[in-house]
């Protein structure tokens, strides 16, 4: 079992809280967007809390910082975008060969780009993933990050973009022809976490605006899995408390942005052994 934690911490220094979450959930791979502390400080906090050596894998400019207690020589960087630093693709030799491809991403926010620009960026990410999959010869791929789009938006669902669908049955078709070309699916389990009829918070991010149509709760933070690894997913949840400390306001139940972040963390496990 390999465990993951992702959190957009809104440039806050939440190293202590992240470390407590790592202890609580025995996390192997920690991904932090908008990190508020230098990597060495994060590593120090993780070591203090767990006694384990975590390594920082990210380049200086990477938007998503990656920390792991898996041996560093099991990681190979496959892709880099020096223009935006919003995506990184690694091969990770974990579990049975050939391991996995891990894509860490933080898409540009809606405050700085239009929906069509986000969709174009999603096409770019999807194409880079496809190219890397072709290069390594497998499709055991997991995408984790703050997509700044909901699961139903074009950049996530589009056949030319991430092509992520809401059920395993749909994703299990593996691919469909779009524009004359076979396009592989991702499974997007985040669909099952919307609203108040499932366990956990209604989304990962709360936003209130005066717009006519406002969802309030959004599911910007997501994990997407190729069909070949979707059956390995367990324990996906949106975290609303860490070590007894609530990340939500009372009684409204909204993210405690003033103390922590406007995003809530995600955690999940993959049975890779």
């Amino acid at each position: 079992m390999t465990s993951f934690l992702f959190w957009n911490v809104m440039n806050r220094d939440l190293r202590g809280l992240i470390a407590r979450a790592v202890v609580e959930r025995d996390v192997d791979i920690v991904l932090v967007a908008e990190s508020g502390v230098p990597d060495p400080d994060m590593i120090g906090a993780l070591f203090t809390a767990t006694g384990d050596d975590y390594a920082a894998l990210s380049d200086d400019a990477d938007k998503v910082r990656v920390f792991t207690r898996l041996p560093v020589d099991r990681w190979i960087r496959r892709q880099r975008d020096s223009l935006s630093d919003r995506m990184a693709i690694w091969s990770v030799a974990v579990g049975r060969p050939p391991g996995i491809l891990l894509v860490a991403t933080h898409f540009v926010s809606k405050n700085h780009s239009s929906s069509s620009e986000q969709a174009m960026r999603a096409q770019e990410v999807a194409k880079e993933i496809n190219r890397v999959e072709e290069g390594v010869g497998h499709e055991r791929t997991i995408v984790v990050g703050d997509l700044n789009m909901n699961p139903f938006e074009d950049g996530v669902t589009g056949g030319l973009a991430l092509h992520a669908v809401m059920t395993k049955a749909l994703a299990g078709r593996v691919e469909r022809i779009v524009g004359g070309i076979p396009r592989r699916f991702f499974y997007n389990p985040m669909w099952g976490h919307f609203g108040d009829r499932t366990a956990g918070p209604p989304g990962t991010y709360y936003h209130r605006s005066p717009a006519d149509a406002e969802l309030f709760w959004h599911m910007f933070d997501q994990v997407l899995l190729r069909p070949s690894v979707m059956g390995l997913l367990h324990g996906l949840s949106i975290i609303d408390s860490i070590d007894g400390e609530s990340l939500l306001t009372k009684p409204a139940g909204l993210p405690r942005e003033s103390a922590y972040s406007d995003h809530l963390p995600l955690t999940f496990n993959l049975t890779l052994d």
């Binding site: 880099r80 091969s91 030799a93 069509s116 174009m120 890397v132």
Partner: protein, 167 residues
């Protein structure tokens, strides 16, 4: 008829001199540079151009690929324009950002993201040349050649350690 003729003679040619007819698109310019990279590095590195489109924008990315170094891919230059009109085009590369200062075209307009907008293939070639000849690009290319050489020599002497896929 004579009025019309004299009227025509009275109106000067208002077009901007002669138009060149051998104009190249941003895609063509990037494609040529991509092909040249393989020749210049004995195919240790190869270039590729990837294109993505949405309703109002098309982007072409010049990607450097290091086949021997785990197939590593690096976005180097991106040109963005209207799908029907290749100019004006916004050209993005590390060395072209406004904060870097010098841009080698006479009149520079920057996009909201801080990258130059070119209005012709001459300008496109000038800014792409600036990006490709920049210190950042030279360092990147040399780094990837070095890492590729290292990977090729180690794979020739020992089984590959680390991530277990075939790339």
């Amino acid at each position: 008829m004579s009025e019309s003729t004299s009227g025509t003679e009275a109106i000067p040619n208002l077009w901007p001199g002669e138009f060149k007819v051998d104009v190249q698109t941003p895609y063509t310019i990037l494609r040529i540079q991509a092909n040249l990279l393989g020749k210049m590095t004995s195919a240790i590195l190869v270039g590729d151009v990837e294109t993505e489109s949405v309703e109002k924008k098309t982007q072409h990315r010049l990607v450097v690929v290091a086949p021997a170094y785990h197939g590593y891919r690096h976005n180097l230059v991106v040109a963005i324009h209207n799908p029907d009109l290749p100019y004006p085009a916004e050209v993005r590369s590390q060395s072209l950002h406004a904060r870097q200062g010098y841009i080698p075209i006479p009149v520079v307009t920057f996009s909201p993201d801080g990258y130059p907008i070119v209005n012709s293939d001459d300008e496109m070639r000038a800014v792409v040349a600036h990006a490709l000849r920049s210190d950042e690009t030279k360092a990147l290319i040399l780094s990837l050649i070095a890492k590729s050489n290292e990977a090729m020599s180690s794979s020739a002497t020992a089984p590959q350690a680390g991530a277990g896929d075939s790339g």
